[in-house]
């Protein structure tokens, strides 16, 4: 690999969405040679066939231990690999472990060249976790909407209320009981099922 050429990067990640987010980030930053591996069978032979300069792997992946084999001097390992941990740069490894990503580099690649890639990785991984949290929140908000709608239906039927009246009743009860509307709605559903 010459100095001005873009290093070849392999992303090992079973999450296709996270890998895509990372891949896109790397492309935007001008790294063109990025390959994603999502299949963990024969991981090492796949990596050797691609012969990358940098390997990025998520920490939820048990196959991280497979990569550790590349540190060993053996016939199977073509180019010795090191993990990107700079003893003088504790903050950088801390940040990457916190974000959930780890980087392995092939011997000879300069530290200055891997640092921006790892930084990008960390920020994209963090962005992905945020996205996941938001998704989980949206999903639970949707679930709550469904529960409230069902509770409203029960109130309308049993007490002959309009939809608006049913909602007002739910809301005022929640305020009085210092609970969320969703919780009150859930207890109405549970109670009505018990009384069936």
């Amino acid at each position: 690999m010459s100095a001005d050429q873009s290093p070849k990067i392999v992303i090992v990640d079973e999450s296709p969405i996270r890998a895509a987010i990372l891949q896109e980030g790397l492309r935007e930053a001008g790294y063109t040679g990025v390959v994603h591996i999502s299949e963990m069978q024969s991981l090492l032979s796949r990596i050797y066939a691609l012969d990358p300069d940098i390997i990025l792997i998520d920490l939820e992946n048990p196959s991280r231990d497979v990569l550790e084999q590349m540190f060993q001097v053996s016939r199977a390992v073509r180019r010795p690999v090191a993990m990107f941990v700079d003893q003088s740069d504790a903050a950088s490894i801390q940040a990457s472990v916190d974000a959930g990503v780890s980087a392995y580099i092939v011997d000879g690649l300069k530290k200055e060249r891997i640092k921006p890639i790892l930084d990008l990785c960390v920020s994209r991984f963090n962005a992905f976790s945020k996205l996941q949290d938001e998704l989980a929140r949206t999903k639970s908000a949707l679930e709550e909407r469904k529960v409230i709608d069902r509770a409203k239906g029960i109130l309308m039927k049993m007490k002959g209320l309009t939809e608006d009246e049913a909602y007002v009743l739910l809301r005022s009860t929640a305020m009085r009981e210092k609970k969320r509307i969703g919780e009150i709605a859930q207890s109405i559903i549970t109670a009505s099922e018990m009384l069936k």
């Binding site: 963990m40 069978q41 024969s42 090492l44 920490l59 939820e60 992946n61 048990p62 196959s63 991280r64 231990d65 497979v66 990569l67 550790e68 084999q69 540190f71 060993q72 001097v73 053996s74 016939r75 199977a76 993990m83 941990v85 003893q87 504790a90 490894i93 801390q94 472990v97 780890s102």
Partner: protein
């Protein structure tokens, strides 16, 4: 007021003492509020311990030594003041390889020398027939599994780096890989050997206690600088873990221990497999053949919990034999000082116990002498040692 601790572990039966110490309330009784974090890779456990996300960890004994020596990775001095388990691994091979070994076997099938020589003949035959070399899996480059597998096959004349392929595979993938023919055999801890036998895809050829009578398997690992800053917390943790180890070894408590370990957020496998492991009574063949050994897995009995520096020396000698580390007297001293019987004894207020006779007890080769590692290593024909 209690002290909060984060401790990492891998879901294996040999994390039992740690899990029971927490879930049975022994740690709380020492004023420790422990959160156990279940991890998916040894690399994660090592890194999180190294950078301080974990205060302590269930760790492969050789990883604690490699970390302290800075071999293949960042140098972070680690101490092992408690030995979580001795032995507990087994070597399992596919149905096809088992049949091939039995065809070539000249002797007792439980004699590791006989099976290793048979394996050598199978390897030679495959080469003659132009077949692919056999693939064996183990869990980590710095693992007892790696060294036990190498020790066994090398005794029969098989060079683990030249004659077969030796690969790292995460334990949960072992059985599938054996079933699909990706690997022909593996050395792994419980419960995975039993899972392979139960699924009818493998035979357990050896308990590792056939190969070495006593081998330090997993340790309770802490950073040296953490241990120095928190001596009382560490002593409390050692006492809680010892109490748990003693509890586990009492047969009356077996049901409770099995139930604690089988919880999904702990080891999370079938309780019958956990029971067989703790009893050292394993089904070794799909036809239902059982085998029992009092040495299969030692958690607390026979002074198993006391870290023995001679064990650390043996593990370091394996790193040297297989070219992972160069030999030096200084490194040997450093490796031995990772295992800290003094911290163990002072926490438990016990006096020094004599080291168990034949601390390693290998089935072949000279008796291990930490004071003459060079001489010991010279006696092995197959070696990757940098000379």
């Amino acid at each position: 007021m209690s002290t909060a601790l984060h401790i990492g572990f891998i879901p294996l039966v040999d994390a039992a003492a740690l899990i029971v110490a927490v879930d049975k309330g022994f740690a709380a009784a020492e004023g420790l509020d422990v959160t156990l974090a279940r991890e998916v890779s040894w690399s994660n456990v090592r890194d999180k311990l190294n950078i301080g996300l974990f205060d302590a960890a269930h760790l492969l004994a050789p990883v604690a030594i490699a970390s302290s020596l800075g071999v293949a990775h960042v140098k972070v001095p680690i101490l092992a003041p408690f030995n979580l388990a001795l032995n507990g691994n087994a070597i399992t091979v596919s149905l096809a390889l088992h049949a091939a070994i039995l065809d070539e076997l000249d002797g007792d099938r439980f004699d590791p020398m006989a099976t290793a020589r048979a394996l050598a003949r199978v390897v030679a035959l495959r080469r003659k027939n132009g077949q692919e070399p056999l693939t064996f899996a183990m869990t980590f480059p710095f693992s007892t599994h790696n060294y036990q597998l190498r020790f066994w096959m090398a005794a029969g004349g098989v060079d683990p780096d030249e004659d077969v392929r030796l690969v790292v595979l995460p334990p949960p993938f072992m059985v599938d890989s054996l079933a699909s023919g990706q690997v022909d055999g593996f050395c792994v801890g419980a419960p995975w050997n039993s899972v392979a036998v139960d699924r009818g895809v493998g035979h357990i050829v050896h308990f590792v206690s056939d190969i070495l009578i006593r081998a330090a398997e997993k340790v309770l690992a802490v950073r040296q600088n953490w241990a120095e800053r928190h001596p009382d917390t560490l002593a409390g943790l050692i006492r809680a873990t010892q109490r748990a180890a003693d509890f586990i070894e009492q047969a009356d408590n077996r049901d409770e221990v099995v139930a604690l370990l089988a919880q999904p957020e702990r080891v999370g496998v079938d309780s019958d497999l956990i029971r067989r492991t703790l009893e050292g009574r394993l089904k070794v063949s799909p036809d239902g053949t059982m085998r029992e050994s009092g040495n299969y897995l030692l958690v607390g009995r026979e002074h198993a919990s006391r870290p023995d520096p001679a064990q650390a020396a043996w593990l370091y000698a394996q790193m040297v034999r297989w070219g992972q580390a160069p030999f030096s007297g200084e490194a040997l001293k450093m490796a031995m000082s990772v295992f800290r019987p003094d911290l163990y004894e002072s926490a438990l207020k016990t006096s020094a116990q004599p080291a168990a006779a034949g601390a390693i007890g290998a089935f072949t080769g000279p008796a291990f002498d930490p004071d003459d590692i060079a001489g010991y290593l010279q006696s092995f024909k197959v070696s990757r040692q940098a000379r």
